[in-house]
């Protein structure tokens, strides 16, 4: 991959919360139209990296370039306007708003009435269940439906690229499969994706390229099919993160 076809690049991003440094220099690249997985266990810095990309935290040093513009330190709403949107986890839908209100909220940067209606139709095509439930408060949806709602909400701003924050979190395997299928469809229709996941196997099946983050730096990277099959050591390492997740769920 050359820098020319990269839509998102980060170089040596260092950052954290308050005085606690979490990211110790993260460098990664996502090409236009590509699905990239960012993997790692709990507390390795993947969510922090996501926040740096979407603007919720300001990197202390390093640079992030999206579609030819420096976005490190930019306010999150301006980053959304540039076409980079973070899809929240399902639990972060607004429970006291209806499904349709949540979706329309995603289209905040779109002002045209017709364009907003088109966005709704698009979201409903990917997730027909949301259309059935559109007058319901989103607090009444199941976990899987909430995740669909959040992905649909992300689509509403007509982004060039989406950041997915653990779309499989706390969902049953069958539901995860459903959601990943739709994510794949969305990408086939031209979306670029960076996905943070703990469900390593699923993420690597979907993605073309993978990064593993550990202690706030990129620990290893490579094409997804290579990562998933090649190295026994890597697999056991990746397996470890899955065990972490299962242990967390058992709690």
């Amino acid at each position: 991959m050359t820098t020319a076809d990269a839509i998102l690049t980060s170089a040596d991003v260092v950052g954290g919360y308050g005085t606690v440094q979490i990211l110790n220099g993260v460098t990664l690249k996502v090409a236009r139209g590509q699905i990239v997985a960012l993997l790692g266990g709990n507390g390795t810095g993947k969510s922090t990296m996501l926040k740096a990309l979407s603007g919720l935290i300001k990197p202390w040093s390093g640079s992030i370039v999206f579609d030819g513009e420096r976005i490190d330190g930019m306010r999150p709403d301006r980053i959304v306007r540039l076409g980079l949107v973070q899809v929240t986890q399902g639990k972060e839908a607004y429970p006291a708003m209806t499904v349709e209100e949540n979706l329309l909220l995603g289209a905040h940067v779109i002002t045209g009435r017709a364009a907003r209606a088109r966005g709704l139709e698009r979201a409903y095509t990917y997730f027909p269940i949301l259309k059935e439930r559109r007058r319901q408060l989103s607090g009444t949806l199941s976990g899987g439906q909430l995740q669909m709602l959040c992905i649909g909400r992300g689509l509403m701003s007509e982004p060039k690229m989406m950041l997915l924050d653990e779309p499989s979190a706390a969902l049953a395997p069958q539901v995860v499969l459903d959601i990943f299928r739709t994510i794949f469809r969305i990408c086939r229709d031209g979306m670029t994706l960076l996905m943070v996941e703990q469900n390593v196997r699923m993420a690597l099946l979907l993605a073309e390229y993978g990064y593993v983050i550990k202690d706030g730096v990129i620990h290893l990277e490579g094409p997804a099919e290579k990562m998933i099959s090649d190295d026994a050591v890597r697999l056991s390492y990746l397996g470890g993160t899955v065990a972490d997740r299962d242990a967390k769920m058992a709690l």
Binding site: G55, P76, D77, A96, E101, L105, R153
Partner: protein, 296 residues
């Protein structure tokens, strides 16, 4: 019986005024997790600005009301932008920023009182609007002022409801009230939206001041009493809940009016708080409240 109905109607119209101020307090609370203690002075400012528009331009009352709401709303946005925003950058609620904001609100209320004192002086002035003839409803005769208050307040509440439910900006206001971080991720300009929340809340306070002006005098310290009553109304309804603020305001108004009519007028200010204590004993979160913050 007609005495009772008279008292209820007077109570309801005063209650509408409390409700408008309580709506503003609740709106700011739901958006910023802070209580705005200078809101009584915004109400006073609204009344004086309305009086100034009335005397200078001789406009009809609805335009005076609208003009005062716009101007006071802009003053509120200015105060938020220049003074409160720096403090609230540290967060609202039980943070250092939230506590500082409460103190800053008290300070702002003293500043606004003194500014008003310098401009308009210490005297209570009448607001000489003529509402026209009393309105006859069956065998009850109502002073037109009360009808005006109720009608205008209902209209404003309906407008607020439509704004929050059916406009893009209103949806953004509710999103910011619910969760600022997620609102940012939706592409919402959160600082600007907070300014809007402040502007709308202050406009509602101003409307209350202008509406009450003609049945009361307009004076510099008129904000003191209303803040406490509106605060009680907001707590009774469930803090941060907008329907709760309206219901709380009406309840406080009616209880106060009935108490003054049947028991004693000299203890008028106590009844609201007896009601408050009673409601908090039975439902500590208020009538419409849940113990967690209500997401508008």
């Amino acid at each position: 019986m007609s005495y009772f109905i008279d008292l209820v109607i007077v109570g309801l119209s005063i209650g509408m005024v409390y409700a408008l101020v309580a709506l503003g307090i609740s709106l700011i609370y739901s958006g910023l997790d802070v209580v705005h203690f200078a809101h009584g002075e915004i109400y006073m400012l609204g009344a004086f600005i309305g009086l100034w528009i009335f005397k200078t331009f001789h406009l009809p009352f609805p335009l005076v009301l609208l003009g005062s709401m716009i101007l006071t709303g802009l003053v509120g946005m200015f105060i938020e932008r220049v003074f409160y925003r720096r403090i609230l950058r540290g967060g609202g609620g039980y943070t250092v920023g939230g506590m500082a904001m409460v103190i800053c609100g008290f300070g702002m209320s003293i500043v606004l009182q003194n500014v008003a004192f310098l401009i308009w002086g210490p005297r209570a002035v009448p607001f000489p609007v003529s509402y026209g003839m009393p309105v006859e409803l069956g065998n009850i005769t109502l002073p037109a002022a009360y009808v005006w208050i109720v009608a205008a307040a209902l209209l404003l509440m309906a407008a607020l409801h439509l704004f929050l439910k059916h406009t893009r900006l209103g949806l953004a206001v509710r999103a910011v009230a619910g969760n600022k971080e997620i609102a940012y991720l939706m592409g919402i300009n959160v600082p600007m939206t907070i300014s809007v929340i402040f502007g709308v809340a202050c406009a509602l306070g101003a409307a209350a001041g202008v509406l009450v002006g003609p049945i009361n005098y307009v004076y510099v310290l008129m904000g003191l009493g209303i803040l406490i009553k509106a605060f009680a109304a907001a707590v009774i309804g469930g803090f941060g809940s907008l329907p709760g603020a309206v219901l709380g305001g009406l309840l406080v108004g009616v209880i106060e009016s009935l108490g003054a009519g049947y028991l004693s007028g000299s203890y008028k200010d106590i009844y609201a708080f007896i009601l408050l204590i009673f409601v908090l004993m039975v439902r500590p979160a208020g009538l419409f409240g849940v113990l967690a913050k209500v997401k508008a």
